[in-house]
Symmetry: C2
Subunit: 290 residues, 2 copies
């Protein structure tokens, strides 16, 4: 399947991510329709030109007319939707998603999906605090990373189509990872960071401290404002990997603690220099993106 | 001492923080001179209008003519300077600093300082990555927090003067803490966050991962680019407090780990909701500042 401005997209789930997809694709001239629970979100999306039309139920005509269906739902809702409504999909349709965990979701979907429909999974590494379509904003994709996670069951055409969708959305870097490697890396880069931010925010009484803080604490806790429903699901779906990443972090944190405790300044400094060196690689990339 | 545009300031140490102080005060029309190690930094600061004049040595005339001397040095260098050169200070001069730890520094300085000179300590909660006067920028003070840490030895006039300096620098919030409470709070808000950022950055191999990261990891590791010389000194000067803060964080992190490990989703969600609620207080303040 070739992805271009003629492609008809259906976005299932017009939250902050689904809404941002719809905005970006409509801006590129694609025909974009949407399915979401609340009529007010459909009305808003149509009024704002984010989608051309929409429905609060899996309208057979709407589903059948889509070439690409993007599921911007929580993992378990995505699986339930496929179980109940996949008979409505058009033969040859391409299904993709935005789920933050891959191995378990892909395994489940590929095991139940009709053989005449292909699922290629992808993870847009961009988002915003706040939920709901009013917070959607495709500017967050600019310069951001988009990861396609194919399995041996995927066709090269579907992988290429998913990458093309990432390009149309405006992502700065499009890459490929196996689902397993994705879950390991995202366990570190994203899930562990959320665990740290939440723990930092709740580990002690902090009321009134906004008068004394600098930007470092604000930066480290920005994501401590967290969608508990979604993240608790993601953590449990990637439990094994996440626990391993948490342990690696804790070991390193304890190593630093012991340097401080023993007054081993040279080891502290060595660790800080290594930290500075590694962080520079992430800076460079960000500048390159802009 | 009344602080106004007639006040003659001397900044000792024209690094990123000293340079930012000098910029802000010169902009307010004050007479600002500087002492720093390198002639090139003096030349740069004079050429840019950051200071009116400067010296690479404690020039007696320069020191004696200052009403307020701001020490923008590392703690041990500040103490050494006072030990060696305090005889040059003008009687009635006000000494202040920018040190990130207070209890140990204030105790030391107050014990050795001439009785006809007063030291009032303050901590500007703003900074920039990168060091050196070329990185100085007084815009970082806008909306930021400035903490004065008086002891019973301080006069109300000196406390008020320190606050007025904070206002002239452009800080958004000026507050007062005892040195002990400052070190506890800063151990949490600033030192612990740096320990976390460094440990997150070094706990595992991350080369190439800039292709897969989202903003959360970038935000949590921004300060992992760290001045190892300064921060190792600050950590050791506040060792006891910092170790306590590290332990509180680690306990909370382990609590979250056990919820994930046991699949206790409701406890995870409760912790995330508490985190979200607490973080909102920091957001509000930030908006109020702007």
């Amino acid at each position: 399947m070739t992805i271009n401005s003629e492609t008809r997209f259906l976005i299932v789930g017009l939250g902050v991510m689904g809404g941002s997809y719809a905005k970006a694709l409509s801006r590129r001239g694609c025909s974009v329709s949407g399915i979401t629970l609340e009529q007010k979100d459909i009305d808003y999306a149509v009024a704002q030109g984010i989608i051309a039309r929409g429905s609060t139920v899996p309208d057979p005509g709407l589903v059948a007319s889509a070439d690409v269906i993007v599921f911007a739902l929580y993992p378990h809702t995505f699986v339930e939707w496929i179980e109940r409504y996949q008979h409505l999909l058009s033969p040859g349709a391409l299904v993709t998603d935005v789920c933050g965990v891959k191995t378990s979701v892909i395994k489940k979907i590929q095991s139940i999906l009709r053989p005449d429909v292909e699922f290629i999974s992808a993870h847009p590494m961009a988002g915003r605090e706040g939920s709901g379509i009013e917070f959607s904003d495709d500017a967050v994709f600019r310069g951001a990373n988009y990861i396609v996670t194919p399995t041996p069951s995927n066709t090269p055409e579907a992988v290429e189509a998913a990458k093309e969708i990432g390009r149309m959305l405006g992502f700065g870097s499009i890459s490929e990872l196996t689902p397993e490697r994705h879950d390991e890396i995202v366990g570190y880069l994203s899930q562990l960071t959320h665990c740290i931010a939440v723990s930092l925010m709740t580990c002690r009484q902090s009321e009134g401290m906004e008068l004394y803080t600098g930007d470092s604490f604000r930066d480290l806790t920005r994501i401590a404002r967290i969608n508990d429903d979604m993240w608790s699901e993601l953590f449990l779906l990637n439990r094994e990997q996440l626990l391993m990443q948490m342990d690696e972090f804790e070991n390193e944190f304890r190593r630093l603690r012991s340097f401080i405790s023993y007054g081993d300044r040279e080891s502290m400094r060595e660790m800080m220099r290594e930290s500075t060196r590694r962080r520079a690689l992430f800076d460079k990339k960000k500048q390159g993106d802009q």
